[in-house]
Amino acid sequence: MASNAENVIEVRDLDYSRGPRQIFKGLNIDIRRGDVTAIMGPSGTGKTTLLGLITRQLVPDGGHILIGGIDIGKLNHKELYRLRRRFGMLFQNGALLTDFSVFENVAFPLREHTKLPNRLIRHIVLTKLHAVGLRGAADMMPAQLSGGMARRVALARAMVMDPEILIYDEPFVGLDPISMGVIVRLVRKMNDALGITSILVSHDVQEIATVADCSYLISDGKVAASGSPVELQKTQSKLVQQFMHGMADGPVAFHFEAPDYEEQLLGRDVE
């Protein structure tokens, strides 16, 4: 297991199954420091599962995940929690705490982990909210926010402890074009201005192309292709072509696995 200092996260020969279905078979991924790395793949390939494995909310069946050269499989509970402080994670639906206001949501990690005075907490929270353009919404409750706003608040909360690694789980799903543009710009801005490493799980090819430095296309439990978005566009592989151009049929079949059509409609054994 040679560990490269340029890589913040290294996934080596990862195996993972859920029930009888094998989701990853020997997956290898490198995530370079300071890059925006996108992880793409058709729905159901286990992109979100991969994030769960990287943050060790899930335990793999085989293989290793190294973060900054440390095998996270060998950490105990306390060390794992210390490691997680270096992460910020943006959940698909924001996962804001519904009984706290926007301000308290962003302040939550600070109040739990630090003993900073209230004035300073206020200062930090307002700065982070300002960065995502929602300083004016500080007193609102999560239920009053639109989907895009909730995601921006969640982004402010993910950044509040100044993490080294920011993880975005499907940040573009269900947003209108304006909010989508806002989030895309924020991802890039946070990454470059604060020197964060960003990991992005998505299947929005267009958005990925504008924001990612490097992307991995996962299919069938393995990396099907990797490289910059431009390189991926040029790849000749049928699967990559199908995915990048959104074609209905190809290596990823339009039909879910089913018995023979004719037989099922005309078969005699139907009661």
């Binding site: 997680r84 990690p109 739990e112």
Partner: protein, 254 residues
């Protein structure tokens, strides 16, 4: 068929064991949360206790009233209507206070806890906390568990006192039992051990009801249906456990 039986038994034991471990984790984290994050616990005592007061008081009043009526009509056959107070006190302090309060508590506070925790899980709030390196067991579950455990005996006390008041209103004010005899007999027959039995029950039921609520919420399938089912299971399981334990504690203390 034997295989089915074996599988069911195995599944039952596994769940039971997991619950014991969960209970131990709650207990081992309780002292530090109680000391360091007392504010969180107080908030949960308010949620589980203060917000259940109305239902507890109304039910207590009427249960006491019924005891007064039933006690009077039966005891007067033996010319012993003066013992209505004793009868009501024994019933309330040893049995009805802890049991009915626990059942009401499961319906009011237990369901609220289970659905709240289940929904927090379904909306990724618990995972989000884990990712912020905040242990949801300590931040969310333990304060709620402690709040329930502390609130239950207090609610039982309120229920019992209001129940005695109800019995007094019916027995003394309406049916004309002598007030002196009502209270005097109660004082001379009721022993410390009887009150102790009630206190032990209220504490045990408080632990059981809070544990089931927190457990079901935390282990709910994170969907709308799953949270609904967890809420139902909280009430059903608490009711069964409370009645079985009530029998066992009574059997031991007689």
């Amino acid at each position: 068929m034997f295989n089915d039986l074996y599988q069911t038994l195995k599944e039952f034991l596994r769940t039971f064991g997991a619950m014991q471990i969960f209970f131990m984790r709650l207990l081992s984290n309780s002292p530090s949360i109680f000391v360091k994050r007392f504010g969180l616990v107080v908030q949960q005592i308010y949620n589980a206790g203060a917000l259940s007061l109305v239902i507890i008081m109304v039910c207590g009043l009427f249960v006491g009233g019924v005891l007064g009526l039933q006690g009077y009509s039966n005891l007067s056959k033996f010319n012993a209507e003066d013992s209505v107070g004793t009868f009501a006190a024994f019933s309330l302090i040893k049995e009805l206070g802890p049991v009915i309060t626990a059942l009401l508590f499961a319906g009011r506070a237990g369901t609220a806890l289970a659905s709240e925790i289940g929904l927090m899980k379904a909306t990724d709030q618990l995972s989000a906390m884990e990712m912020m390196a905040i242990n949801p067991l300590r931040r969310v579950l333990v304060p709620r568990f402690l709040g329930g455990v502390i609130a239950m005996p207090l609610l039982v006390a309120v229920f019992t006192v209001i129940g005695l008041f109800g019995a007094h209103v019916v027995g003394v004010s309406l049916l004309g039992v002598d007030a002196g005899a009502f209270w005097q007999q109660m004082q001379s027959t009721l022993e410390f051990g009887d009150v102790m039995e009630g206190i032990v029950k209220s504490v045990v039921f408080g632990v059981v009801a809070s544990l089931y609520a927190v457990w079901e919420g935390y282990n709910a399938v994170p969907t709308a249906e799953g949270v609904g089912r967890a809420t139902t299971r909280t009430v059903v399981l608490t009711a069964i456990a409370v009645l079985i334990l009530d029998f066992m504690i009574t059997a031991v203390s007689i």
